[in-house]
């Protein structure tokens, strides 16, 4: 589904991702872990199409298409979803209007008729239930005045609405209490199918208790330096990242 080859990314001439390779197949959940400032969020942003980053080398192929040539909105309509680490507050834009516009642009892209108001509201209710979202959304502006937990739940709600093929969750667990964490994880598990995939970026093993990954990767200095099964996350939780840093340094000496 997603093939990233030798990806190099800079911002203001500062290298952030430095030769990253990653392959994600349908039905898989990949966890990406690593110390702060190693390029995890940059990777998520680059996949979603954030223009402030400059891809200097490498390729990202998504379902056989060159992702780097697509605008952020086309990537979304092609099935890519980014759950933001810091969802933006947009005063004056109601969630209903926002989601309706988004869904109908997705439908237009697929050659489908726009949803009627009734159908749309029914869909909203269904998805709200699915992700266990109790917040009244209809008259509220996007994320405005939301608590940290509500913002993250709102990301999962949007994901449920848009039914992406590849969802990247950028530290969706940070700042969540255990109940909110469970809601987020349940949402992901309910949306999980054989034909979609998830990349979960996290600092903590505890999210992976609820969302069980098929693969765990460690990102360090802009590269994936270690990959393993879910047990790797447990090991990282126990031992920290220092031993990985040492391994990397030892390799570079060779």
């Amino acid at each position: 589904m997603l093939k990233i080859k030798n990806l190099k990314v800079s911002i203001n001439n500062k290298k952030i991702i430095n030769g990253l390779n990653l392959e994600v197949n349908a039905g898989e959940i990949h966890a990406i872990m690593g110390p702060n400032g190693t390029g995890k969020s940059t990777l998520a942003s680059v996949i979603a199409g954030r223009e402030i980053f400059e891809v200097t080398e490498g390729s990202i192929i998504y379902q056989g298409k060159n992702l780097l040539e697509m605008s952020p909105e086309v990537r979304s309509r092609e099935g890519i979803f980014l759950g933001f680490q810091y969802p933006v507050e947009i005063p004056g834009v109601s969630i209903t209007n926002f989601m309706k516009t988004a869904i109908n642009e997705h439908r237009k892209y697929k050659g489908l008729e726009p949803l009627t108001a009734t159908m749309f509201l029914a869909l909203m209710e269904e998805k709200k239930k699915m992700v266990d979202l109790q917040t009244k959304l209809t008259n509220r502006s996007v994320n405005e005045g939301f608590s940290g937990g509500e913002k993250k739940k709102n990301e999962i709600f949007q994901m449920a609405m848009l039914e992406p093929t590849l969802a990247i969750l950028d530290e969706t667990d940070s700042g969540l209490d255990i109940d909110a964490l469970r809601v987020v994880a349940n949402g992901v598990n309910k949306l999980r199918r054989k034909d979609n995939a998830f990349i979960v970026i996290t600092h903590y093993q505890r999210l992976l208790d609820y969302i069980v990954p098929d693969f765990v990767h460690v990102l360090f200095e802009g590269r994936i330096v270690k990959s393993g099964k879910k047990e790797l996350a447990l090991e990282l939780e126990e031992r920290g990242y220092d031993w990985i840093k040492q391994e990397v340094e030892a390799q570079s000496l060779l």
Partner: protein, 469 residues
């Protein structure tokens, strides 16, 4: 110096017009009003038109607008126009009492002055001067100060007609009154409507004031409206401006508020070549309150200047001001707001905010919030921002599949919506809501307002060019 010469010549022409048409101008007024007229004319002769050398007019240069050879109409031009056919306003379904002015003249010729059973009088100011000199003389020329402003003096000298509304004590008018001011002429025209609105004690009025142009000749409009609000009265006031790019318009609106009266005034500028709105509010009685809301959407080479002055002339008065603007292409918007708190006006609360969205490098905003405080127990604040669409917000919307163009639209609309949601008449809010969104999409034309004449004329187009952002 050439342009000054031209401006002077219009001034001279007007002075000649005044002398030559004195009989026509004076004949329908009372002596009292004609005395004010004569004083005002002297004031105009002394001051002339404002120039950019005056601090208050620094950013709005009238030279171009004043360089045309305008005609003045000293009496209504025949009965050739059927107002119902010329103009059809879509806000009609809003169930209002509608009063129409054509080129400044009160246009409902069959009933020039309407007396409702509850004592309300609505109609032509010219007729009101004749029929109710006692009421008119008590207020005329008292709130719009012609000794300090050349253009107010000019209007006062020539003022002949306009809208007169009188609401007696304790009367609430349940339907909004809508004033529609239409300019329709084959000549370049100078028109000077004069409106007088009087609210009695504990009375209530919703007033919607719309300005439109039909034929696309140049026009110069200089309106003066005086509004007196007696104790405990309340008023919801809307000014909608959708003028073509060839018109220049100066509006001078002076509110005088007595104790415990409550005013909400909303100025919505959808389009206009050159617009200058002078809004003066005097909070003259304890417990009086004013909300001032403004929204201006300008593009092309349009120029909109909102100049507001809130005079806290009594203790325990409050005001809350919010003006927002979206400025595109080569347009220019000016906000200049002054709040004056007089020495004895203790416990004043005043907030003034101006926010602007600049869509191009060429667009210009001059924002000048200004507080002048002489009392010591007050709570006042002001602020101004000029910014662009937030790239983080844009990306967030696009990351959900919304096209860049629609994302911009949503954000601009959201920006304007803060003012639109303050409109308390639901039908009007809906209407303005749709006008604003059409305007932002570049789909609004003058034809949205009137159905007949627009189609035979070349319509100036104005679009917000999304690609330029």
């Amino acid at each position: 110096m050439k342009t000054t010469g031209i401006a002077l010549s219009l001034k001279e022409k007007l002075e000649n017009n005044f002398s030559e048409n004195k009989e026509l101008i004076f004949k329908n007024s009372t002596n009292f009003i004609n005395e004010i007229r004569t004083k005002a004319f002297e004031s105009f002769k002394l001051m002339g038109f404002p120039t950019i050398k005056q601090e208050n007019w620094r950013y709005t240069n009238l030279e171009n607008a004043l360089s045309k050879d305008y005609h003045q109409q000293f009496q209504p031009q025949g009965n050739t126009v059927d107002i119902e056919k010329v103009f059809h306003c879509e806000v009609h379904h809003l169930d209002t009492y509608t009063v129409t002015q054509l080129n400044n003249w009160y246009a409902e010729k069959h009933i020039p002055l309407c007396h409702l059973p509850n004592g309300v009088i609505i109609g032509s100011l010219a007729k009101a001067i004749e029929a109710h000199p006692d009421i008119v003389e008590k207020h005329f020329g008292r709130y719009a100060d012609f000794e300090k402003s050349g253009i107010t003096a000019l209007n006062t000298a020539f003022a002949q007609d306009g809208v007169f509304i009188f609401v007696p004590d304790n009367v609430e008018i349940n339907k909004p009154i809508q004033i529609i001011n239409i300019i329709d002429s084959n000549d370049d025209l100078l028109v000077q409507p004069r409106n007088l609105i009087i609210l009695g004690k504990n009375s209530k009025l919703t007033l919607v004031h719309c300005d439109h142009t039909i034929k696309h000749k140049s026009s110069f409009i200089n309106t003066v409206s005086e509004i007196f609000m007696d104790e405990g009265s309340s008023m919801d006031h809307y000014k909608l401006q959708n003028k073509d790019d060839r018109s220049a318009m100066i509006t001078n609106t002076s509110f005088h508020l007595e104790a415990n009266s409550n005013l909400t005034t909303n100025t919505i500028v959808l389009n206009g070549g050159l617009i200058r709105n002078n809004l003066n509010i005097k909070l003259n009685g304890k417990g009086s309150h004013a909300d001032l809301n403004g929204l201006y959407l300008v593009s092309g080479t349009q120029h909109v200047d909102n100049n507001t002055f809130v005079d806290h002339a009594s203790p325990d008065t409050t005001s809350n001001e919010l003006y927002k603007g979206v400025v595109d292409q080569n347009a220019r918007a000016i906000f200049s707001g002054k709040i004056l708190v007089r020495r004895h006006s203790q416990r004043t609360q005043a907030i003034q905010t101006n926010r602007n969205l600049l869509l191009t490098d060429e667009a210009i905003v001059n924002s000048k919030p200004h507080l002048e405080i002489y009392a010591d127990d007050v709570k006042c604040g002001h602020g101004a921002t000029v910014g662009q669409l937030d790239p983080d917000e844009l990306f967030y919307l696009r990351a959900r599949g919304i096209s860049e163009e629609n994302a911009r639209m949503l954000l601009m609309y959201a920006f304007a919506d803060e003012i639109v949601t303050k409109i308390s008449v639901p039908a009007l809010r809906e209407r303005i809501c749709s006008l604003v969104s059409k305007r932002l999409k570049g789909e609004l034309s003058i034809c949205d307002q009137c159905v007949l004449h627009c189609n035979d004329n070349e319509i100036p187009s104005f679009e917000i060019d999304m690609s330029k952002v």
